[in-house]
């Protein structure tokens, strides 16, 4: 390796890490307005969640708590993939060019992540409500379960938003999205299943704060990577 590499390395065009807060809220509002204008997208996802819950219901009426736990997170996982995958596809090239002019990429991706977190939290709550109705509610520690759901939405939102932005550049983005996100989401998914198993009292473990810290650490790693790497995806 020549010396040149290192001098190049110092010239790394580090993306602007200071985001523009003023533009963040208009961008966030835009996401909500867009969602309500195209109501078919959100209702499609909600219907998707209900159909999956219904399939679980007709396939096996009484579900044992360990199965309940895993099935619930699988439903949330697939609903999340489908909810997030469209976040970069639905907007046209011309409109993206406009955002490119008014906002820096870090602010833009932060707005998307926040919006997707809220969306996934709503979806997760809906799925939980519907699932409890048909398959029973074995949750013993509801506050913990709520916290797990919140942290799960956050983690899923960060990872899926980033992967969706890569997948959106390809033609068959839905397939690519699933392939690319699986290895990335695995640490989060494993921790979530473990934590909610604790909330269901399937495992007796009082040291679950370690898992919550793990989850927060993963989220921190993923969000900082997103901030650093997203400008490279955005630049087209």
């Amino acid at each position: 390796m020549s010396k040149g590499y290192f001098s190049k390395w110092t010239n790394l065009p580090l993306p602007a890490l200071f985001m523009n807060w003023k533009i963040l809220f208009p961008l966030l509002r835009k996401e909500f307005v867009l969602e309500f204008r195209q109501r078919y997208a959100i209702s499609g996802i909600v219907l998707y969640v209900f159909s999956m819950v219904f399939v679980v219901y007709i396939a096996s009426i009484r579900v044992a708590p360990p199965v309940w736990n895993v099935l619930f997170w699988l439903i949330v996982l697939f609903a999340s993939i489908n909810a997030v995958v469209k976040s970069f596809v639905q907007e046209s090239g011309a409109r993206q060019l406009y955002y490119y002019q008014i906002a820096d990429p870090v602010t833009l991706v932060l707005a998307k992540v926040i919006y997707n977190t809220i969306l996934l939290l709503v979806l997760g709550t809906l799925a939980f409500a519907a699932y409890s109705l048909v398959a029973g509610n074995p949750v013993k520690d509801l506050p913990l379960f709520g916290l797990v759901l919140l942290l799960g939405s956050l983690g899923f939102s960060i990872a899926f938003t980033f992967i969706a932005s890569i997948a959106a550049k390809a033609n068959n983005s839905a397939t690519l999205m699933a392939i690319l996100s699986f290895p990335v989401i695995l640490p989060i998914l494993l921790t979530l299943v473990r934590l909610s198993a604790i909330a269901l009292r399937l495992i007796q473990d009082t040291s679950y704060t370690r898992d919550i810290i793990n989850l927060l650490a993963i989220d921190a790693i993923l969000i900082s990577l997103t901030f650093v790497l997203f400008p490279y995806i955005w630049r087209d």
Binding site: Y5, A159, I166, I179, P183, V184, L190, N214, T226
Partner: protein, 374 residues
């Protein structure tokens, strides 16, 4: 060039020593595996790599060992052949610490072959008919403590039950994991370099053809992308080999090929990442876009792999030595003779991996140049 020769030299050394150095003596099993107190019993010891018939200046000694305080010595023994030895024991009337059952380790000390130990070889039960309450502990427990054990002289690998000769896989299977790690790290490094400098300047390379030196320019970005892809591909090869060989070894030592072990899971997830990486690369028409997004995904996915090291040990117990996500070995799993082969093995296999990756890079370079000609 020197490192290719080094790789060959190291691997030849690893193959020769790894396959030819003998295992230390060990006790494979004993018969019967259970006994009662207060009786005389003959126990047959089956040795592995032992030579009981080979006599030396001092005699063979046989013990059943409970802890550093309590041990039973054989009253007499007969050597049947090199690997079978019958020892007679006068079992004491009472067990230490008033227990009902104790597990005794078998120890054979041979002046040349050294000491060998079988953990929990004999289950010794308190015989209720012979039990006398309040009786002081038999003197037999303490009269002949285990002391002045011999060590096997010369170069040999440790003997471990269940593993036996397959301990040699340490030099063939385990380095695959290291090669995979180093190659994937190299891949991520070149992805970083690519993103830092996608297309701007060029690297000057010299090529010697028929005595003349040709100078040509390679766009730095293209070269870095090529390297990232080639290291990932070669890493994938070694990862698959590591996984396959691990499954073979696990099948004959742990009883099943897959057991949600952290190293198995990490390797499987790393392989999934790089399979996804190649699918991503192939799904774009423009080479610049493909290189850029692949580099971004490479860094993102590799970094998200690291938390698994902390998470998986909380869910599944590891069967690998040096557990809790530590890729290194514990001191009792790897003695100095093994280290003398294991470390050269890691270096040798890694250099071989980079050699193969280098061939792949050179092929890709030629291919890209040929495509430009068209």
């Amino acid at each position: 060039m020197w490192w290719k020769i080094l790789s060959v030299v190291l691997l030849v050394y690893v193959f020769l020593t790894g396959l030819l150095v003998p295992l230390k003596s060990g006790i494979e099993t004993v018969e019967p595996a259970a006994a009662h107190t207060g009786r005389e019993i003959t126990i047959r010891f089956y040795g592995y790599n032992t030579f009981f018939e080979k006599s030396a200046e001092s005699p063979i000694r046989v013990w059943l060992y409970y802890d550093s305080q309590y041990a039973l010595s054989a009253s007499s023994f007969t050597v049947v052949n090199d690997t079978i030895l019958d020892a007679r024991f006068n079992m004491p009337v009472n067990l230490p610490e008033g227990k009902q059952t104790v597990y005794l380790n078998a120890i054979i000390d041979h002046p040349i072959a050294g000491a060998s130990l079988l953990p929990a070889a004999i289950e010794l039960n308190q015989d209720s008919s012979g039990m006398v309450a309040g009786l002081p502990l038999d003197a037999a427990w303490t009269t002949t403590p285990v002391e002045t054990l011999h060590l096997q002289k010369g170069f040999s690998f440790p003997y471990q039950n269940v593993i036996y000769e397959s301990i040699r896989n340490t030099y063939f299977h385990v380095p695959m994991w290291f090669v995979l790690l180093f190659l994937f790290c190299a891949s991520v490094w070149y992805s970083l370099l690519y993103l830092a400098n996608p297309s701007d300047s060029s690297i000057i390379r010299k090529l010697k053809v028929a005595g003349r030196t040709l100078t040509y320019m390679v766009p730095a970005g293209q070269e870095n992308d090529r390297r990232a892809a080639a290291y990932a591909e070669t890493g994938l090869l070694f990862g698959i080999l590591g996984l396959l060989t691990g499954m073979i070894w696990a099948n004959y030592t742990w009883g099943k090929p897959w057991s949600n072990d952290i190293k198995q899971l990490m390797t499987a997830v790393a392989l999934l990442i790089y399979l996804a990486y190649f699918i991503l690369r192939s799904s774009f028409d423009e080479p610049e876009k493909s290189a850029r997004l692949a580099a971004v995904y490479n860094i993102f996915a590799f970094a998200s792999l690291i938390p698994l090291l902390y998470i998986v040990p909380r869910m599944f117990a590891s069967l690998h030595p040096g557990a809790t996500g530590n890729p290194a070995f514990g001191t009792q799993d790897l003695d100095n003779t093994m280290r003398a082969v294991f470390y050269p093995a890691i270096i040798g296999w890694t250099l071989l991996g980079f050699w193969i990756a280098n061939l792949r890079i050179r092929y890709q370079r030629l291919f890209d140049r040929a495509m430009d000609l068209h």
